[in-house]
């Protein structure tokens, strides 16, 4: 009963957040009921819309699952954005180099390349932390910037579409990539592609890794107590690098999926990270937090945030309110849910005190 109530707290928090969102809508002169209806309708109102939501949630889930791995090893990875970009670049290069490979080989290959690119981009701050005591929060954020500029550099130079050079338009984008690399649809004719399944499997894989394998055991041991891990003979520095590399590999996978699950079938930059990632590298952190930093809970949590993101466009269209309002709504949900963790512990304490009292009265 008390556990049920505990689980209800984040949902309650989400409701309160929506109430706040409603107040914001009223403040700009829009009908909140209509707004909510439009939001839900856009997110899950039809088959294609659900597919869009799931596709939108996919990078969040991958980044979020990666965050949970890093977190369990006591490493904070804010580098999702950069790792997405690194993964996308490496997978794009592979696809450009091997245009004639059949899909059955090329799809796995670009996914692996994406994971590899992200892993390398994660391993760098991991190694800096392990061997040079560089704070990983700083280094991962900084490497986000480096990755974006590197992407701009490559897409304006080596990887630029030869047609853009010929025409002199010089839009920073690659040529159309091999269609063999396009992620196959899970349901024919729908936008729902293989990437969604890969993300769910990756989250389950993160759970299995952390709690069912010696490698995950080592990561968690290092996360809880580097001193005890070291005394037991666990390589602490190597584990930190591994945790960030694994975390980065899932973000890199998200990068590959963003490229090969998109309809443009090419990598484009508008000069910013968000232009390519849609801020999935940050929203994924939010999804992981909402999921209690547990890889399995991150699955529904990511789908919820995916729904909020796609629903926001519906809200914007129906009420003619600025899209920034929807972003603000996301922020409010996060604040309420994260602070609800505090409420939950307080409730647990109360419940414990009460059962203690009952016990005592029974004895007396």
């Amino acid at each position: 009963m008390q556990r049920l109530f505990g689980a209800a707290v984040p949902l309650l928090a989400a409701l309160v957040a929506f109430a706040c969102g409603a107040i914001m809508l009223v403040a700009v002169g829009a009908d909140p009921v209509e707004g909510l209806r439009a939001l839900v309708d856009q997110a899950v109102g039809s088959g294609p819309r659900i597919a869009t939501t799931l596709v939108r949630a996919t990078p969040l889930l991958l980044v979020g699952a990666g965050i949970t791995i890093a977190f369990r090893a006591s490493v904070v990875n804010i580098g999702g954005e950069g790792q997405i970009v690194a993964g996308a670049l490496l997978s794009t290069i592979v696809a450009i180099q091997l245009p004639n490979l059949p899909g059955i080989l090329l799809v796995p290959l670009v996914l692996i390349a994406g994971a590899l690119g992200g892993a390398v981009w994660g391993a760098i701050p991991g190694a800096l932390k392990a061997y040079a005591s560089v704070n990983e929060i700083l280094s991962t954020i900084m490497l986000n910037l480096v990755a974006v500029q590197f992407m701009n550099f490559l897409l304006r130079g080596w990887l630029i579409d030869p047609l853009e050079v010929e025409r002199g338009t010089r839009i920073p984008q690659t040529a159309r990539l091999s269609e063999n690399a396009t992620l196959p649809a899970l349901i024919p004719g729908s936008r729902l592609h293989l990437g969604v399944l890969v993300a769910v499997l990756a989250a389950i894989g993160a759970y299995v890794l952390l709690w069912r394998t010696p490698l995950g055991f080592r990561l968690r041991a290092v996360g809880h107590s580097p001193e005890a891990a070291k005394a037991a003979g666990i390589p602490v520095k190597k584990s930190i690098v591994t945790a960030l590399a694994l975390s980065g590999s899932l973000s890199g996978l998200a990068g590959a999926i963003l490229v090969f699950g998109s309809e443009s079938v090419r990598m484009v930059t508008d000069g910013s990270a968000a232009g390519f990632t849609g801020s999935a590298g940050f929203n994924g952190i939010v999804a992981a937090l909402f999921g209690g930093l547990h890889p399995l809970w991150t699955i529904p949590s990511s789908f919820l945030f995916g729904g909020l993101l796609t629903g926001a466009t519906g809200l914007q269209r129906a009420l003619q309110v600025p899209a920034a309002l929807a972003v603000a709504l996301n922020g409010i949900v996060v604040i309420f849910v994260v602070s609800s963790a505090k409420v939950r512990t307080r409730l647990d304490q109360l419940a414990n005190a009460r059962s203690e009292m009952k016990e005592v009265l029974k004895d007396a």
């Binding site: 490698l215 055991f217 041991a221 003979g233």
Partner: protein
């Protein structure tokens, strides 16, 4: 010694405090007179701390009453207790490391020049207290610069500054070196002689014998004995605490001493602050032998253990070999594979992971072995069998294998560590402070397991600040002073006096 002339300051009558499933205090009677040290002796979980928390207003008893100077008083909060001139020195210090001594003492008190602070007045007050009781502390120095012993003095000053007449000291010696203990005891005796009432909580028998005027023994929440040092001795007190006869030193059968298993020569190690901590140490431990390392804390014991375990780098020219194999260049993992096992001094920091389950801590070292995993996945059935076996073999008291380790007592956690470290029949064990802060019953058990392993041919190094432990366990004793081995003596004929002189750096 006992000054029975003092007024009864505190009387706790028939105190009963229950927690779910536990009767923490069962009609406990306890009183303190002015000018005495009344010791509350008992194993962990016997109800000593609960009783004192009732006194300090942190718990309300279900039954019973508290009389302060003859007046029934209901103590509702720590603040209330402090106003009633009760002071408590907690085991874990309640000091802000970045503030000065004076600031810490002033914390929570109203200043004479509100809203401004009046640290000069506080410093004068501290100086007066320092003079009266020989508690030398500079009021203007930051807490983080102070040693553990000095921090404890600040805690005592804090209580005295709040005009405490009745002072409760919850296991004050747990964190102190023997010298600091002596200094503390001198201070406490001064305070007693000036008419304060002191409650001393401990489970270290020799300290209790040395300091107390009266002793009350608690077991499972009940008072099981009230005595004085004159009427009792250590083994009587131990029996009262544990409820059965206790062997304070293990039986050690004669075994044949075998080949050298751990050989250390010219070992030099730097300490944390760069100065040499271990200075050219040569030691050899043979199969079937326990070498005790005696010494005042901070004379290189920790660095010696960590260097052997591969957790601290050694200076060039140092050699460490296990069963003839040179391990000085190896990491901890490889040294463990070569036959080393290690019971660290800081149990909860280096020995076990509090947030891990009992089972996880039991496989912390061997989790990667083929026995427990195949193709990168754990074999949970095998792990469970192995861990249940260890838990029953080592009499670990735990509700289940999935229980978080931090919820167990220190003695049980130490048994888990020992079970894990002895599981592979190691050739060499380094055991640092194997029974510090552990119940007498558990300590007895741990000693007997160490002796069993020695009888089977393990070479053991036991590092301990407890001379009784060293004398009871070891076959030979090496005394460390200032990072050097002063002397190595056989346990037969070794006396505490002789060892004490060596520990102080005096060579006969």
């Amino acid at each position: 010694m006992a000054t029975n002339t003092g007024e009864v300051m505190l009387e706790m009558r028939n105190i009963t405090k229950r927690f779910p499933g536990v009767l923490a205090n069962d009609s406990v009677n306890f009183d303190v007179r002015a000018g005495e040290v009344h010791t509350l002796l008992g194993e962990n979980g016997a109800g000593k701390s609960t009783l004192m928390k009732v006194l300090f207003g942190l718990y309300q008893p279900e039954e019973g009453e508290i009389l302060l100077n003859g007046t029934p008083t209901k103590i509702t909060s720590p603040t209330h207790a402090i106003n009633q001139r009760i002071g408590m020195i907690h085991q874990h210090f309640m000091l802000v490391p970045t503030l000065t001594v004076a600031e810490n003492v002033a914390l929570g008190l109203k200043s004479g020049r509100r809203p401004l602070t009046d640290l000069k007045a506080v410093a004068r007050g501290i100086a007066d207290i320092s003079d009266e009781y020989g508690l030398a502390v500079d009021p203007n120095v930051d807490i983080w610069r102070l040693s553990v012993g000095e921090r404890q003095r600040v805690e005592i000053i804090k209580a005295l500054y709040r005009k405490a007449e009745l002072l409760v000291l919850d296991e004050p010696t747990a964190v102190l070196t023997p010298q600091e203990v002596d200094e503390l005891f001198a201070i406490l005796r001064d305070m007693r002689n000036s008419g304060k009432g002191l409650v001393f909580i401990s489970h270290k028998l020799h300290e209790v014998m040395a300091l107390s005027d009266r002793i009350t023994v608690l077991r499972n929440g009940k008072v099981t004995g009230a005595t004085t040092p004159a009427e009792s001795d250590r083994s009587k007190l131990a029996s009262m605490m544990v409820g059965r006869e206790v062997k304070l030193a293990p039986d050690k059968p004669l075994v044949e001493i075998g080949k050298p298993r751990l050989t250390i020569s010219n070992l030099s190690v730097d300490g944390d602050r760069g100065a040499v901590a271990v200075d050219g140490v040569d030691l050899e431990i043979r199969a079937g032998e326990i070498l005790g390392i005696a010494g005042v804390s901070g004379n290189g014991q920790r660095e010696l253990a960590e260097a052997i375990a591969g957790l601290r780098s050694v200076k060039s020219g140092s050699t460490i070999s296990i069963d003839g194999k040179d391990v000085a260049g190896m990491d901890t993992r490889d040294r463990r594979n070569a036959g080393l096992s290690y019971v660290p001094e800081e149990r909860m920091r280096d020995g076990a992971i509090g947030d891990f389950t009992v089972a996880e801590n039991l496989i912390l070292v061997d989790h990667g072995s083929d026995e427990f995993s195949a193709r990168g996945m754990f074999k949970f059935a095998e792990i469970e069998t192995h861990c249940s076996q260890l838990v029953s073999d080592y009499a670990v008291k735990t509700p289940s294998l999935e229980t978080p380790t931090s919820s167990l007592s220190g003695g049980n956690i130490q048994k888990i560590i020992l079970a894990r470290e002895l599981a592979n029949e190691p050739s060499v064990m380094i055991a640092s402070q194997p029974t510090r802060g552990v119940d007498i019953g558990a300590a007895e058990y741990i000693h007997s397991r160490l002796v069993d392993a020695r009888d089977r041919g393990m070479a053991t190094m036991v590092i301990s600040e407890d001379l009784d432990e060293v004398l009871g366990l070891a076959d030979r004793i090496a005394v460390l002073c200032d990072g050097k081995v002063m002397d190595i003596v056989p346990v037969e004929g070794a006396t505490k006096e002789q060892l004490g002189l060596l520990m102080a750096g005096v060579k006969s």
